[in-house]
């Protein structure tokens, strides 16, 4: 019996010919990531470990300031400073200060720090994003990250793999985000717990790299350990443009054993909405818009949908128009590079002219930190990945999740709106 893509990568990093689901392995890591929140705890843990003086390899650690940036208060500033001092002391090569990076999961692929076949662990649950490039990547807590800092290894239980099949062309107005919301809805929020998701099919082959990043990002929303795509020509072009480092492209064997195979009906897929208060409470937009759902805030950005393609989609819909007077729209480019690209293309001006506020890259609004926190009774439509009670602020607020197109279309009307109508309108204008 052959191995899945995840099993292949884990076996090679554990120095084994083969691994099987359930097996516990010690695997070498190619990169360890932390942000100022997870690093704060990890650094303290590392300092408490007897014999732990230096990180295992200063070129294989990435530290990104992104959660409470720019610092929202003195305590956040202290954590950021602590990470900066640690980076200097340990001579960490990949340290991203405010203004020089952005959201960790947007920054690492962009900077060539992720390549196919690599094994990456990060002190953030959305570390699974890097599966988009054919890497095994998973989130862990700070103590595990501290151990990886010093050992360059982690223990892992080999997950069984769920193969998800997507075949056919997406309808106009339907995007990678909708595919993934439908997937989380189908699997359920613990449907892939302890498992790998392997994405397959012609829809996936046709998808851009940013679309794949969006999909891999939300593997954790089904509880998965990782979500992974096979590297193809697009992947290699994306990675080769950014690094000359050698890497090994792995492929699942033809006779790999999958725990189960799930198919998503792509041709019939409408834009999808995750309703409050779990990311698997997913419904097609035609059902959701039967009621008029008024909004107080629209948020476009995050490690799920803060890529240049996402901003282009939003700008196309909002170009020359004004957002509804009843709401506010917050746009958050995913990284400094995305921000600059959007500036060059006139996107930031288009969005600002429509009445959106364009923020600096960061995680704040998505996790209820700062820069767009919801108040009691408020309702937000967001391109982010989670809508748990209190996720974006008040426990009495509601968060709906959708694609950038659905968010932009809804920004114009002030209520949840099918982007296919808005896109049609902009095509004729």
């Amino acid at each position: 019996m052959g191995m899945t893509l995840t099993e292949k990568i884990l076996a090679r990093h554990a120095g084994l010919d083969r691994v099987e689901p359930g097996q516990i392995i010690n695997a070498k890591v190619d990169l360890v990531l932390a942000n100022e929140l997870s690093a704060a705890v990890a650094i303290n843990v590392m300092r408490s470990m007897k014999g732990a003086k230096r990180v295992f390899d200063r070129s294989k650690i990435a530290l990104v300031e992104d959660h409470f940036v720019p610092a929202k208060d003195a305590q956040s500033a202290k954590l950021a400073r602590q990470m900066k001092e640690f980076a200097a002391e340990q001579e960490i090569e990949h340290f991203f200060d405010v203004g020089r990076g952005g959201i960790e999961h947007v920054v690492l692929p962009e900077e060539g720090l992720v390549a196919p076949g690599e094994l990456i662990v990060g002190g953030d649950s959305h570390t699974c994003t890097y599966g988009a490039l054919g890497a095994f990547a998973t989130g862990m807590g700070s103590t595990d990250i501290a151990a990886a800092f010093v050992l360059g290894e982690v223990w892992l239980r080999v997950p069984s793999t769920i193969k998800v099949l997507y075949d056919g062309a997406l309808q106009e107005g339907v995007y990678a985000k909708d595919l993934m919301l439908a997937t989380v809805g189908k699997l359920g929020i613990d449907g892939a717990t302890y498992r790998a998701i392997e994405y397959h099919g012609s829809t996936i082959d046709a998808l851009s790299i940013t679309g794949r990043l969006t999909m891999a990002n939300m593997a954790i929303e089904a509880g998965a350990k990782n979500g992974i795509f096979h590297a193809d020509g697009k992947t290699l072009a994306f990675v080769r443009e950014r690094t000359e480092r050698p890497f090994v492209v792995e492929r699942a064997d033809a006779d790999a054993a999958y725990e189960r195979i799930v198919a998503i009906d792509v041709a019939a897929l409408e834009p999808q909405i995750a309703c409050p208060h779990t990311p698997d409470n997913v419904h097609p937009i035609s059902q959701v818009t039967r009621d008029s759902i008024r909004l107080d805030q629209v948020f476009i950005g995050s490690c799920t949908n803060g890529y240049i393609d996402d901003l282009r989609i939003a700008a196309k819909i909002l170009h020359g128009k004004k957002i509804a007077s009843s709401l506010r729209v917050i746009v958050n480019p995913g990284s400094q590079k995305v921000w600059m690209q959007a500036a060059d293309e006139g996107i930031l001006k288009t969005l600002a002219s429509a009445g959106c506020v364009v923020n600096t890259p960061g995680c704040g609004a998505c996790f209820g930190g700062h820069m767009g926190t919801l108040g009691d009774g408020e309702r937000c439509l967001s391109t982010t990945n989670r809508n748990y009670v209190g996720r974006m602020g008040s426990p009495k607020a509601e968060v709906y999740l959708a694609s950038p197109a659905t968010c932009a279309a809804s920004a114009l009307t002030g209520q949840i709106t099918d982007p296919r109508v808005a896109e049609l309108a902009s095509a004729h204008s």
């Binding site: 516990i24 929140l37 997870s38 704060a40 705890v41 303290n44 843990v45 408490s48 470990m49 007897k50 014999g51 732990a52 959660h67 409470f68 208060d73 305590q75 956040s76 954590l79 990060g122 002190g123 953030d124 649950s125 570390t127 989130g139 862990m140 807590g141 700070s142 103590t143 595990d144 501290a146 151990a147 010093v150 050992l151 223990w155 239980r157 929020i189 613990d190 717990t193 302890y194 954790i220 509880g223 350990k225 779990t278 996790f367 209820g368 930190g369 700062h370 926190t373 989670r386 748990y388 009670v389 209190g390 996720r391 602020g393 426990p395």
Partner: protein, 168 residues
């Protein structure tokens, strides 16, 4: 290893996520006791006022889903909770709880039978759960051998220290 733990049950449903265990706005807090003041705030604002040292959280499936924030189990521990019993745990929370020394037990039968306020006694090493209020006994799922050796070694930190002493 911990000896016997004893306290009253606080019961919750399924999919208790890390955002309600410790809301994002508190994630820049490092102090365990301070975090404990906000434990479970998103789902149960009165929890920190009500909880007594040694009390036990009892929840349905997928406890701790969502973010990788290690402050989630730290906040629970900081509130004085001695253990969490659930039908199942989300993956990252499971690792984090073991790493920081918060006893967790998987036992669907116990979860179904325990009511809020029941007095519970736990022997974490044996996986034994006793509902003193109802006079019933349960056995939690055993940890896989590797996890057991990690727990017996005192957690991940001593494990790493030993590896470092052995020259990796």
């Amino acid at each position: 290893m911990e000896t016997t733990l004893r306290g009253h049950a606080h019961t919750y449903g399924k999919n208790v996520d890390t955002d309600v265990i410790i809301p994002g706005k508190y994630c820049n807090i490092v102090d365990q006791a301070e975090l404990g003041k906000h434990a479970m705030e998103g789902i149960d604002p009165e929890f920190s006022a009500r909880v007594k040292s040694g009390d036990i959280i009892v929840a349905d499936s997928n406890f701790g889903c969502g973010s990788s924030r290690e402050v989630a189990p730290i906040a629970i521990k900081g509130a004085g909770v001695s253990a969490v019993i659930a039908k199942s745990f989300a993956r990252i929370f499971y690792r984090n709880a073991i790493n920081i020394g918060l006893p967790i037990l998987e036992c669907p039968e116990a979860v179904d039978a325990i009511a809020a306020g029941d007095e519970i006694e736990i022997d974490p090493a044996a996986g034994a759960i006793r509902n003193i209020s109802k006079g019933t006994n349960y056995k939690a799922a055993e940890f896989p051998p590797f996890m057991r050796s990690l727990i017996e070694a005192g957690g991940l930190i001593p494990y790493v220290e030993r590896r470092l002493a052995e020259g990796r």
